[in-house]
């Protein structure tokens, strides 16, 4: 791999550099700010492309590794790298940030500079989280990401933004403290912050259990898993569009990523022992999150709760501990980022025009904004798992994996496809069909700047739906390696036989 520049460090620190540079721009030069943000976010994506094209899909080893001693006395390193599990999230983060810049162009009206600075800082921190192979570094990025996110919700959010921001902050903080303790204990046990080395350790079962739950606190809040989900609807609802998109597409993936990167390889025995609990909580999230959507009157809140349901599929897939479930779960994260990100973008587009999130304020929108309605329909269909679109592939794999692991789990998860169709189509009907609501009869159609993000995401909706191999092939080897670690070499076919003959 001769790329000529350190890819990961570039994509982590270029946005940070861009953000800091923007602080120098004068307060009144808003358009300079916007173009600078667009420039840096686009450049970041372009420079991250080698991760997609040059990635070696035949090895589970970390790639694009950069390793420098940082605080040698304490064994802290600047150690970054990606494997088949994390690489796609780096790319997704880079893509989503550009879309957030575009969608905020006219909707952010106060403190424009600070907003874009926050956005770029978040991007750097998020990518840092996905690349870190040193716990110390990881913890810095993990926490650093929260400050700008807190600001985005608290400063540029809706009427109840302070409540939502504090709630977000408290939940995450409490979770992080548990993880911090876990990290310290791991350090004391292993004498290193090196995540890969720690992942080879064989810890006693009891300790594994304690640590599993300590990390669980941080990750389950992030995902969010039932019953720790109540911060999410508030945060989503109050956040500005870009905030919701970042939250849905990337931030809440950190929890699921944490399970994959840390919980499973560090505490394999505890994870295996806890699968019934994790599968149970996932199924509850799927059904609960879905049913709650029927009672929502607020567009963003509904989509937020649907995320709870979808993230239930993700954690379900991860804890099936078989390759279909796990690859389905990872792909589900990507797909959910694309679909729900797109849905929040869509809501933002009409919110900019009407300043209402109430479903009853809409109706008949398909007649007023037909192209927009077409895009929204596409993402709705992807969300409810229409075959041929991306959501189906991951949903099917997760249900298949779930069924394989435990039949009842697969059956219960599959009820999600009925519930999902129910609330999404009902939402679509109330917003787009029926007679045109007076409030929206004269709003202007969608502009090119708004259509572009939706168009780019719909490319992936089709691409992953028709030819998912491009993305699934990134994961195979790494997921297999992880499964070997967790299942101690129990082969996939063995698992299948166990699943089939094992009865209920």
């Amino acid at each position: 791999m001769e790329i000529g520049y350190p890819v990961l460090s570039t994509v982590i620190f270029l946005p940070v550099f861009g953000g800091l540079l923007m602080l120098l721009i004068g307060r009144n030069q808003e358009s300079v700010v916007k173009w600078t943000a667009l420039f840096f976010s686009t450049l970041t994506l372009v420079l991250s492309l080698p991760l997609f094209t040059e990635f070696d899909k035949t090895t589970y080893l970390m790639q694009f590794v950069e390793r420098k001693s940082w605080i040698p006395d304490w064994g802290v390193e600047y150690y970054v790298g990606v494997d088949g599990i994390s690489v796609l999230f780096v790319l997704l983060s880079a893509l989503i940030t550009i879309l957030c810049v575009l969608i905020s162009w006219n909707s952010i009206k106060i403190k424009v500079k600070e907003f874009y600075v926050s956005l770029l800082l978040i991007e750097g921190a998020m990518i840092g989280v996905f690349c870190s192979l040193d716990f110390f570094l990881f913890y810095i990025f993990w926490e650093a990401m929260l400050i700008p996110m807190y600001l985005i919700i608290g400063v540029w959010g809706g009427p109840r933004r302070v409540y939502a921001a504090i709630k977000f902050f408290l939940f995450t903080l409490v979770g992080s403290i548990f993880m911090l303790i876990g990290i310290i204990v791991l350090y004391l046990k292993g004498g290193t912050f090196n995540i890969l080395e720690l992942s080879q350790m064989a810890l006693p079962f009891n300790l594994q259990m304690w640590l599993f739950w300590a990390f669980f606190a941080a990750f389950a809040v992030k995902v969010p898993m039932f019953p720790l989900h109540t911060w999410l609807p508030d945060a989503h609802t109050e956040a500005p569009t870009a905030g919701s998109v970042i939250l849905a597409a990337i931030l809440i993936k950190m929890g699921a990523y944490g399970f994959l990167r840390f919980s499973l390889p560090l505490f394999p025995d505890a994870s295996t022992a806890m699968t019934p609990v994790m599968l149970g909580l996932s199924v509850v999230a799927i059904i609960y999150g879905g049913l709650v959507c029927f009672a929502q009157t607020d567009l963003k809140r509904l989509i937020a709760y649907s995320s709870v349901s979808h993230m239930g599929f993700v954690t379900l897939g991860i804890f099936t501990l078989n390759s279909q479930g796990m690859e389905g779960g990872i792909l589900y994260m990507i797909n959910h980022g694309i679909i729900t990100g797109a849905l929040f973008l869509c809501v933002g587009i009409v919110y900019d025009r009407t300043h209402s999130r109430e479903i009853v304020d809409y109706g008949g929108l398909a007649s007023v904004m037909p192209v927009y309605a077409g895009f929204f329909m596409l993402f709705t269909l992807a969300s409810i798992g229409l075959p041929g679109l991306n959501g189906f592939i991951s949903e099917f794999l997760v249900i298949l994996g779930g069924f394989k692991a435990k039949k009842l789990v697969g059956v219960l998860a599959a009820t999600g496809i009925i519930i999902g169709a129910g609330y999404m189509l009902w939402l679509y009907q109330r917003v787009f069909f029926n007679e045109v609501n007076e409030n929206i009869a004269r709003i202007e159609p969608m502009g090119l700047r708004e259509a572009l993000p939706l168009l780019s995401l719909s490319v992936f909706v089709f691409w992953i739906g028709i030819y998912p191999d491009t993305f699934l092939s990134f994961m195979h080897v790494s997921v297999n390696h992880l499964l070997e670690r967790v299942n101690y070499g129990v082969s996939d076919t063995m698992m299948a036989i166990k699943g089939l003959t094992g009865g209920y």
Partner: protein
């Protein structure tokens, strides 16, 4: 045979063409790309038919769709006798409906959208019938469901239309829930989702059983029944039939194509395609036959009293689909597919005629406000009469041959078959003839009962509409002649007795029947006689003594109300499924669990936040600072401990 790929691809191309360019550029010419594409598909389908007739079949994978662990599924195509019959039915009916719609949809502002959807539907249906594996079948299955949803709700500004579309999709999802699990079970059992290896391996799985909730369940039966759930939804069988009558909210050509001739028969196609699995499970076969018979009778009784012309035909579709499942359930898959094929012609014709009537009546659907139309629309009348004779099973019309074969097979189908024959064969056939001719008499005979203004506008439809009617009329008469039963061919000396069954035999098999010709003649005569009785009663009620139905309805008011309200199935579902779900989510989940238990007790968050909020209200950045302090403290802690460990 590589050119077969053009069959689905041409309509797909037309879909994107119309979707992207339709609104601004193509506009009123939107029928061209779509109609040409489906015409092309029809031509290629005929070429493929000739190939298959010459003995060639094909099964190949195009590319690998999904791989994960030991799971692998391709996009691939299977072209055999069954596929090719479906290809011809789908492309020919679809082509005629495309042509018909040029006239019917002329004035509609959503013209381009309509043709785009029609093309998408044609593509999806063709993918469904050509699939060579379960998951691609599922793809086509869901995609036709989507088109159905879009086209039922085509006039989406009408609340009833958008409701009906949504209902169709969601009700079908209940069936697909089972179907999807069935597909997963197939994979876990056979390790693949491709048809051929599964069919080959099915025999060895015949005796396997599986433990469910402590009960031993036969594995193949479970798989077959799960898959059948999907068929029940898609083909509108009891208890998931409720969506199809409402689907009539869509434009009438859509009702003809999707909700009569093609999509709704996908369930029958699926059972026929998967016959190696179904045949291994007597229990599943009986379930299929009984569901079919119950549906055939149930829907026919409802059709007796409906006044909406399209709803009568919709219930008759449900009933006829029941016939097809009867055939499959007694192992006569060939007969089921034969009925599917003849039904496509006469049922599409019935709907298109109904559309022609509505076109003349200015959108009126109530038959009580029609009457005497035969004077004004002779072509529509003549073709609709042919269709009605065909559906009633009068020889030598198409429906006679297929229905007769089903009844004969059911009669010989063991004890379950005999019961099914009595219900579906005698009773439902009687009712079918009755309601079909009730429709004819109410609509076309007697005096006109509409408004003066409507009367003034009565006219025969334009050529783009009547020509498809005539072509379908020919089909409704002659389509059955490729399946002439042995008993008739032995009398008349026609060669190739039941050519269709022979043609299908390699794929679908054909039950051997030992019964003597005399019994066959008796059964046949009986069903024809019963159809004639049905027509005669309709004539008595609606021509001769028009006061009779009214007084009957009054005398048996309760039964009449029950039938008129479709046995209140919708109301019951609303009461036991829809409303409880809504109330549960609103009051129990959101109100109680989220609002009180989780927020209040588990997290105690709101109070804490208010307390916290009050503290920091005046200096907002204070929170940030304290957060920063926390983080710094955390890092400090890590470092401190690291230092201690290292320095030890």
């Amino acid at each position: 045979m590589q050119y077969y790929l053009l069959i689905p691809l041409m309509p797909l191309g037309a879909f994107f063409f119309n979707l992207i360019l339709g609104k601004k550029i193509v506009r009123r010419q939107a029928h061209w790309p779509s109609t040409l594409a489906v015409a092309g598909s029809l031509v290629v389908s005929v070429m493929v038919l000739l190939d298959v007739l010459s003995g060639k079949t094909l099964n190949e994978d195009l590319y690998v769709w999904i791989v994960s662990g030991n799971f692998k599924v391709s996009i691939g195509f299977l072209i055999d006798q069954l596929t090719v019959v479906m290809l011809i039915v789908v492309t020919s009916v679809s082509f005629l409906v495309h042509v018909y719609s040029i006239g019917y949809m002329q004035e509609d502002p959503g013209y381009y959208r309509f043709y785009a959807y029609l093309s998408l539907f044609t593509f999806s249906m063709l993918m469904l019938v050509t699939a060579n594996n379960f998951l691609q079948l599922y793809f086509g299955w869901e995609a036709v469901g989507l088109c159905s949803y879009l086209l039922i709700g085509f006039w989406y500004e009408k609340k009833s239309a958008s409701n009906a579309g949504k209902k169709a999709f969601i009700v079908n999802r209940f069936g697909d829930f089972g179907f999807g699990l069935g597909v997963i079970m197939v994979f876990l059992t056979f390790g693949t989702l491709a048809y051929i290896p599964v069919f080959e391996g099915a025999g060895s799985m015949a005796a396997q059983s599986i433990n469910i909730l402590g009960m031993q369940v036969d594995l193949i039966t479970l798989i077959a029944l799960l898959l059948f759930c999907g068929a029940v939804g898609k083909s509108a069988q009891v208890p998931l039939h409720v969506w199809l009558p409402d689907a009539m909210e869509g434009p009438t050509p859509v009702s003809a194509l999707i909700h009569a001739a093609t999509m709704v028969t996908a369930g029958v196609f699926m059972v026929a395609r998967l016959n190696p699995i179904f045949s291994l499970s007597p229990v599943a076969m009986d379930v299929v036959a009984v569901v079919g018979a119950v549906t055939a009778l149930f829907a026919a009784t409802i059709a007796l009293v409906q006044n909406d012309i399209k709803r009568v035909i919709a219930y008759s579709t449900i009933s006829q689909l029941g016939y097809m499942f009867i055939a499959c359930g007694v192992g006569a898959y060939g007969a089921g597919v034969f009925h599917l094929y003849t039904h496509a012609f006469f049922k599409a014709l019935l709907f298109l005629c109904a559309g022609s009537v509505m076109h003349a009546m200015g959108g009126e659907v109530n038959m009580q406000k029609m009457g005497g139309l035969r004077k004004y629309m002779p072509v529509t009348y003549a073709t609709m009469l042919l269709a009605s004779l065909s559906i009633s099973g009068i020889p030598p019309f198409a429906g006679f041959f297929s229905k007769d074969e089903i009844l004969w097979m059911a009669y010989n189908g063991g004890s379950v078959g005999r019961i099914v024959w009595a219900l579906g064969g005698t009773l439902a056939a009687l009712l079918t003839a009755f309601y079909s001719f009730r429709l004819i008499y109410l609509t076309f005979h007697g005096e006109f009962r509409g408004t003066e203004e409507q009367k003034h506008h009565l006219h025969e439809s334009p050529g783009t509409m009547t020509i498809p009617l005539i072509i379908l009329g020919i089909g409704a008469v002659a389509a059955g002649w490729i399946g002439i039963p042995p008993i008739i061919s032995s009398i008349t000396g026609v060669e190739h007795a039941n050519w269709f069954a022979e043609f299908m035999k390699p794929v679908l098999g054909h039950p051997e029947i030992e019964a003597p010709h005399s019994t066959e003649a008796m059964v046949m005569t009986f069903s024809v006689a019963i159809a004639v009785v049905g027509i005669a009663v309709a004539w008595l009620f609606y021509i001769k003594r028009r006061e009779m139905p009214v007084s009957l309805a009054r005398r048996y008011g309760l039964i009449y109300k029950l039938l008129y309200n479709k046995y209140y199935v919708d109301e019951i579902y609303n009461l036991i499924v829809v409303r409880p779900t809504m109330l549960f989510s609103r009051y129990v989940l959101v109100g109680l669990t989220d609002g009180v238990i989780i927020e209040g007790i588990v997290n105690g968050v709101p109070a804490l936040i208010n307390w916290f909020g009050a503290k920091v209200r005046r200096l907002q950045t204070g929170l940030l600072q304290s957060y920063g302090t926390m983080m710094a403290l955390g890092l400090f802690l890590i470092l401190a401990i690291a230092f201690i460990v290292v320095s030890k």
